[in-house]
Symmetry: C2
Subunit: 287 residues, 2 copies
């Protein structure tokens, strides 16, 4: 029946039952020790995406702390992660009534089987649903074209390299105004904007926001730089539980200097709420 066929076709993954949930699932080996096999499905070229890794660490902390939602999480990236086995070790730093603080590290193994630390994270968790509704924000969402006027890797001359497995797992539709780099004409402005979702239709939650803030092409591309822009440190504030539907992500770089740049991301949900803010410091190799 056509109707049933259509329903199957548009079946959407849900929070808790999706690629993202399966690939961030941890096996608890002991209190504060988790095993995970880092999926090759979230790689950019050959490196595992830093936002996916942050979501893995964020999930380990959610399972360690008495609060479930990352309010503010700071990650320092030490060495590049590869797909394959990893261990996450967590520590409860302090528990409080409204906020708890924890620490987590992700390790992989060198050729002799010794642990090598990849990332270390400090985070404070709370309960987003317990927050009062009062809002005195002055922030307004940036102007975005409608999603069907934006472009993803499936829409022609691939703006994101086809060798990056992560592109199959994400719905990224870039604002044409920030797409010049893909056709050899970067705007010179450090801006990148996109509609964002998970390709299997899973809606966003606080953990997937940790992925979202580091999933767009680097703003450096629009400044005219090429090549990898490795993250040194990434801090994310999750401010609200996102409403269902695609997110709008706007990333801005104002200060490229001395071989480093910052990327400031803001994430807006379908109810026009600023659900996350992040800033990262990254290295840039000037051409």
């Amino acid at each position: 029946m056509p109707e049933a066929a259509t329903a199957t076709h548009i079946a959407r993954a849900t929070i808790g039952d999706s690629e993202f949930d399966r690939d961030t699932a941890l096996t608890r080996r002991a209190p504060g020790v988790f095993d995970i096999d880092l999926s090759a499905g979230w790689t950019i070229i050959n490196a595992v995406n830093g936002g996916y890794l942050l979501a893995v660490l964020g999930r380990a902390l959610a399972e360690t702390l008495p609060h479930a939602d990352p309010f503010t999480i700071s990650a320092h990236y030490l060495t590049a992660s590869q797909p394959g086995p990893a261990v996450v070790r967590t520590e409860v730093v302090r528990t409080g009534r409204t906020l708890s603080t924890g620490q987590a590290s992700l390790f992989q193994y060198d050729d002799e089987g010794r642990e090598v630390e990849r990332i270390r994270v400090l985070a404070s968790y709370g309960d987003l649903d317990s927050l009062p509704d009062d809002v005195r924000t002055t922030a307004v969402p940036p102007a975005f074209p409608p999603i069907d006027e934006c472009f993803g890797p499936q829409d022609g001359p691939a703006p994101i390299s086809g060798s990056s497995a992560i592109t199959d797992r994400l719905m990224i539709k870039l604002d044409p105004a920030t797409l010049g780099w893909a056709v050899g004409a970067p705007s010179g402005k450090g801006e990148m904007r996109a509609w964002f979702g998970l390709a299997d239709g899973r809606d966003a939650d606080p953990l997937s926001l940790l992925l979202a803030v580091d999933a767009l092409p680097p703003t450096a591309f629009e400044i005219g730089l090429k090549g990898w822009v490795p993250t040194v440190e990434l801090t994310v504030h999750v401010r609200s539980r996102p409403a269902p539907g695609p997110l709008r992500i706007s990333i801005t770089t104002r200060n490229l200097a001395g071989g480093f740049l910052e990327e400031d991301a803001e994430v807006w949900d379908t109810e026009n709420r600023l659900v996350a803010q992040s800033r990262q410091l990254a290295r840039a190799r000037l051409g």
Copy 2:
């Protein structure tokens, strides 16, 4: 002689020989263990200022790591610090050629003499003087009135409470456009701007920038809130060694929601370079 008298009058403290340097000095008890007596000179009302504490931790890490300059430092504030004895414990997380990462915690003592953790910090350090000169920044300094058209606590109706010892150690001259709160007429905009220096004339360096980003009155005052705005997390990127002379600091809050707000600070030096960027997540009690 009038000339000599004038020279004495304007004698300025120097980097390494100033109130700030003396009050952040640590005594090394063992490798990675430092004692310090937190000065009562950097308190706001009764709490020790979070920026001063970050500078103490930043200095401990500079003495622990092979690199001296904080490039990015993230602090999670756990419990309120009081003037008096404290111990700082540092750990080398990773050392590299251009960047080293470390962790530090500051502890004080409860009534039974047990250690209580106040702050935990993760940071990546490098050598600011080794960075290339290339700058492709698009950031421009915010508009500031001349310093003699700005106002500090010494300039009449005290905009900063006289009970805060820290005001004696800082040169803060607030842009009148962000001073409405001090006369009962907050602008409603989450902005705070000031010329900033140390009162004894010591010029800024990377460590004092850690103090600078958390030293102005809270932007919440201009939004119409009163009372304490305790920091949950503060991350600072130091991007350049500041030139001599007063700094210009601009702090912006865009999103006050759910009982929390962010404070984004940028710090400009006399050569119009963006020498530091910071963001903190703080709690706000809505009136």
